[in-house]
Symmetry: C2
Subunit: 313 residues, 2 copies
């Protein structure tokens, strides 16, 4: 017996208890209702993951549920917003109850850590396509934009670069590593830098999350802020896994161009660094001009590609 | 030369001018920012349309852009919310600039009529799947829920039933009609009942938009309100097109079970009807009990099916 759409939604995605103080109405009516508290405005983002493009068929549904939410919370973090609620559009080829239960488990485990409610969405039949829309709260007028970098700023990241990209290579059988676990965990179960985003809100200038690759995402900051960015390769924070990969293959560009790390990249006045109570690495500086330059041993390097873009030739 | 994802978004979906007074930041950063005015809360809905399931390959993209937005505005209308902004997740098999231009035209033509801004979203490659998430404003505590019907209410609809279902039959070549234009327009370009939803907010009890079919959607009201609903077939508002179809085929159930009409179905105390300044038809009443009964010539009728449900056997 097939489950109807409505039973499906109710069984797996209707929370027994709402956990966000501002949710007025969750799943089950034509709309959800959310009450933005006075003095705050709403940050909104939406990301899609397509089977065969963003994840491989057969990928563990629990990891997909986690990652779909994580990439959206990462966008909120990069604006300095506090996550509050999400809507989910699930397109699935068939009713697979085990898949749904596992997917929901991965999503809710992460959601509950941030008091994020699933308040609505849609369930349709078709090629597996997962879209999540996330809401977050920002004090009115306070946010971190791509356009706010200033010459004189230093450029920082919140953690290691390249692990997710290495994880993808390992998952696809393209590399064997004694440190596979680190890289695979970073690829399948990225941790959104929510606390860092909140800490940066009052201190940093520009901020972006590294989803397409450090250099590609830094180009967005440079373009939108009408400034230039310099990166010093030797300062990039690299895990043992990525250090081993580079030493073995010579592919030093991985941490610059690999996507999916979901660390934050931000620019900040150097004198504000002492006030930052989060982990960070200074990797470069903002200057007048345009574009992104990567220095290695003091020499500007050419990259094979900027990073990951859909629809690129 | 292929367009990059970012250029794509910018070229077709970045509005030259934002038209909603409360949009703080539109397309182009990690998140959009929306400022909910004091005294209001947010209604949120999200709907997906999948090629081959909700529309046929080759369907005019301008109609798709209209309909994707219309079905979401219809959900807002059924809560009594005023539309304000949307996010769009487009999954497309390839860059087709003509398709994108036409889709955007259909979407923006409807959006501009309601001062709705497109403030964000995502563009990915994959099987054509269109998801839109819509925001609307509700005065705090005022809304129309499925659960608010009361015994003694009359049941009303805001317009003709069955035209979209007939349009689908005609589009698929299953019926030839001298009134094809009416039915096809209703199927491809449904009009969300936004003004009716706003007018009903202070007067009606329960409300739902008819997307799955009158009886199926009325079941949601009956179930959620713990009441019974009686419908009198002779009172259903039917276009000439649907009257001709029923006279020709004998398929009297069409206006009860066909989806996609996007009229509102609401329940209201009969003494409030005089205050309603919108077009409406009284088609039944709410009683104590459970379920939905359809009377024809005073006799309860059995239906072949309730309406359209994804994943149903």
């Amino acid at each position: 017996m097939a489950l109807s759409e409505f039973n499906l939604i109710a069984r797996y995605f209707k929370q027994a208890q709402l956990s966000n103080a501002h949710t007025r109405l969750g799943v089950g009516d034509d709309c959800a209702i959310y009450n933005v508290p006075q003095g705050f405005e709403l940050a909104l983002t939406m990301d899609t993951m397509v089977e065969g493009v963003h994840f491989l068929p057969g990928c563990a549904p629990e990891a997909l549920g986690h990652k779909l939410l994580a990439v959206n919370l990462s966008d909120l973090a990069s604006m300095g917003a506090e996550p509050s609620a999400v809507l989910l559009a699930l397109t699935l080829p068939a009713v697979e109850e085990a898949w749904l239960a596992s997917f929901a488990q991965g999503l809710f485990a992460l959601a509950q850590r941030y008091h994020v409610d699933l308040i609505g969405g849609d369930t349709t039949r078709g090629p597996r396509t997962l879209t999540l829309q996330a809401l977050g709260l920002l004090p009115c007028g306070q946010n971190l934009r791509r356009s706010a970098a200033q010459p004189g700023d230093v450029i920082c990241v919140t953690g290691n670069l390249g692990d997710a990209g290495l994880g993808l290579k390992i998952a696809q059988g393209g590399f064997a590593s004694p440190y596979a676990d680190t890289a695979l965990t970073q690829f399948y179960l990225p941790e959104p830098q929510v606390a860092a985003g909140l800490a940066l809100r009052d201190l940093a200038h520009a901020c972006i999350d590294i989803s397409d690759g450090l250099v590609a995402d830094l180009w967005h900051i440079a373009d939108n802020s009408a400034v230039a960015a310099e990166i010093y390769w030797e300062t990039l924070p690299l895990s043992q896994a990525v250090q081993h990969y580079i030493a073995t293959t010579g592919d030093w560009q991985l941490p610059l161009v690999a996507g999916d790390d979901y660390q934050l990249c931000f620019t900040i006045s150097p004198e504000k660094l002492v006030d930052l109570n989060i982990a960070y690495w200074v990797i470069g500086k903002v200057t007048a001009g345009a574009g992104v330059a990567v220095y290695q041993h003091g020499v500007v390097q050419q990259l094979n590609r900027r990073g990951y873009e859909h629809f690129s030739a």
